[in-house]
Every structure is written in structure tokens, then in C-alpha cells.
Symmetry: C2
Subunit: 212 residues, 2 copies
């Protein structure tokens, strides 16, 4: 297909397509003559992955490139790619310290909270920093019980994550990585809405009990 069709089918602007080619994120088309290049389905699929990572998941360019590099390494197992892509997509403003005692010092709230969850949650992941920031924000805002809540949330969240990973497509690594990264981002608002719905339902039910 011509580049105009690639633009139309992907929903990515011409300027962005050219930018991704310049940055080495998308392979150039095959030159048909001096003025025209031909693009294939693999270009379209690659563009949809880039669009998903940047527009939808909102990842910065550097992190998107890291994930694309993971996808471009041949001879990797799916599990290997997945672990690297999930880590590359994570909101890791800070590097995770190496030793256990450093972890406890760097992320005191998250380390304490995770310790209550048992061996299913091993504290060596970038999301630990994210958890520590979330707990610190809750505490600073007059909600110190968020940390205790982790012991309650943990098993449910673990069950959700296990079922999600079980649904991962295993036929091709690009789909798996796209599913994992998109699923992480896009399902967060769904879970938040469901929890609010449950609160509203429970409060309404309590009200009905009072009135009965």
C-alpha cells in the first residue's frame, strides 16, 4: 500500500509516520521508484502497536522505544519478552535498589505492606516505587489506613492478575506485549468504576436496611 493508505488505515498522521521512520521505530517502505515507497501489513501492525503504546497507554517516547526493542529481539521466549515489556512500561521514576535492606529504606510503606502478603508478592519490581508513592500520598492526605488495607486488597488483586495473565494471547509476541501493556492501562479505569459502583450499591443497600 502507499503511505496515504497506511495513514488512513492506522489513524496515525503522516507527520507521525515519517517521524517514527526517522527515529528507527518503524521500518521504511520498500522503494518502488524515487518518489514512491510501498508499505505492507507488517507496517500497519507495527504502527498500531506504537499508537497503542503512545496514544492509548500514554507512554513517553523513550519507554515506547524500549518496548519496541524488546519486540525486535529474535530468539527470545514469550515470557522473557513479557517480563521485559511490563518492566519497561512501568512507571519507574526511580530505579529499584538491589539489596533487601535498601528496599525497606527506600520504600518503607510499600515494603511493610508487601510483607503482610506473603511470598506471592516479591519486592523487587518497579511497581514497588509506585505503590510506595500511592501509600505516601494517602497518608499525607489524612488516610493512613491505606497501608493496612493492602493486606485486604492483596489476595483479590493477585487473583485478578492471575486470571488476566491466563487470558494472554500466546500465538505471537507482539500481540502478547500489546495485550499486556494495553490491558494494564485500559483496565485501571474499569476497575475504578466497578469499585465505585460497588460502594454506591452497598451504601444504597445499607440505606434500604435502615429504612426497613
Amino acid at each position: 500500500m502507499q503511505i496515504s493508505e497506511l495513514v488512513r488505515r492506522s489513524g496515525v498522521t503522516l507527520a507521525s509516520v515519517k517521524f517514527y521512520i526517522r527515529e528507527g521505530m518503524l521500518a521504511p517502505g520498500e522503494a518502488v521508484n524515487a518518489r514512491r515507497a510501498e508499505y505492507g501489513e507488517q507496517h500497519l501492525e507495527r504502527l498500531l502497536v506504537i499508537k497503542a503504546l503512545t496514544d492509548v497507554a500514554g507512554l513517553p517516547l523513550a519507554r515506547t522505544k524500549r518496548i519496541l526493542r524488546v519486540l525486535d529481539q529474535p530468539d527470545r521466549s514469550l515470557a522473557e519478552m513479557l517480563a521485559e515489556a511490563i518492566t519497561a512500561a512501568a512507571d519507574d521514576q526511580d530505579d529499584v535498589p538491589r539489596a533487601e535492606e535498601d528496599l525497606a529504606a527506600a520504600y518503607p510503606r510499600a515494603s511493610r505492606a508487601i510483607a503482610t502478603l506473603g511470598p506471592a508478592f516479591r519486592p523487587r519490581m518497579p511497581a514497588l516505587a509506585q505503590l510506595d508513592r500511592a501509600l505516601e500520598a494517602a497518608e499525607a492526605s489524612g488516610f493512613p489506613t491505606a497501608e493496612e488495607g493492602v493486606g485486604l486488597y492483596g489476595p483479590h488483586v493477585q487473583a485478578i492478575a492471575e486470571a488476566e495473565l491466563a487470558g494472554l494471547p500466546t500465538d505471537d509476541p507482539a500481540s502478547a506485549v500489546r495485550y499486556a501493556v494495553l490491558g494494564t492501562t485500559l483496565v485501571e479505569p474499569v476497575l475504578a468504576a466497578l469499585r465505585r459502583l460497588a460502594h454506591q450499591n452497598l451504601a444504597a443497600a445499607r440505606l434500604a436496611d435502615d429504612e426497613a
Copy 2:
């Protein structure tokens, strides 16, 4: 206490304190003389509730006022206040239609998803609009399986919400409303971080299995 002490202890600026008094959200101090008014602990507590709702939960002024009005109505049961405050805090850009058939038409994705969850989730709440928007965004971004996922998430989210509501302080309505509204907002990032941590752990475990 003088207004300067109220400002210092609440962490709310003088300009904001005066604004809240002008808007009728905070009672004026008791005039000691023409130039000075005296404020009590109830002023401080009220300011902390306002701060929590606006700064922390990020609610717009109109919604904060609605919640304060709920708190100011005497002779209401705790359950009644809670149900109203949770609804007032919700991200209800749209009014929820009255009839069941309107609901299904207005929020097709959320209605279908909720139907799979059984009677625990009754579809008459503002969060239904939020859920529908989240599912629509996921679908538009190439993640149509989010809707099917609701059946999986529902029971876990329900268990989380029940435990959260069980931990609600029941001694005074202002604390209960503050806990409910703040908890809804502040715990969302905690749950999101925990889920990411679980994904990272599971992907790492799968990788270790492959290498073994």
C-alpha cells in the same frame, strides 16, 4: 484561635479560608471586636474536610458544596448521608436515566457487563456512566475484552468494597463521609500499583519457570 492559627493548623491559605466563608461553606468566626474574630476546633475540622474534598479528592467546587450540604442536614441517618455523599462525589457527567430500558440504551457496555454479575450490582448508580465510558475507551483502543473481564473482576471488587465499608467509622457522620470520599479517591492508585506489582511478579515467575 485567631484566623492566622487556623490558617497555620489547616494548611489552607488565608485567601481560601475567606473564600470558603464568603461562599457559605465555612461558618464565620465569632466576632470578638470590630477587627478580630475567634475560631474554634469545629472550624478547623470543617476546613480539613473541605481541603480533603477539593485538594485531595480533586472534586470541583459545586460537588464539594453538595457534600457539605449533605453533612449539614441534621436528623439524617449515617447511611442516608453516606449514600448521598458517595453519589455527590461521583464523576456523574450524565444523569442516570430512570427506566431500565433507557439504562441499557444509554450505557450498553456497562449494562451488559453488569448483567453478568448478578443482583449484587444493581444498575442505577452514577458510576454506571463511568464504567460505560471506561469500557468504551478500552474498546476504541483495541482492547474489546475489557467488557468480558468485568465478570471476572466483579466478585473481587465486591469483596474489596464490602471490607472497606465494614471499616467505616460510625461515630460521627463527618468522619464517615470524609473516609468514604477520600478512601474512594486515594485507594485507587494503591490498587493500580498492587495490580502492576502482581503482573510483574507473575511475568517474572513465568520467566523463571521457562528457564528452569
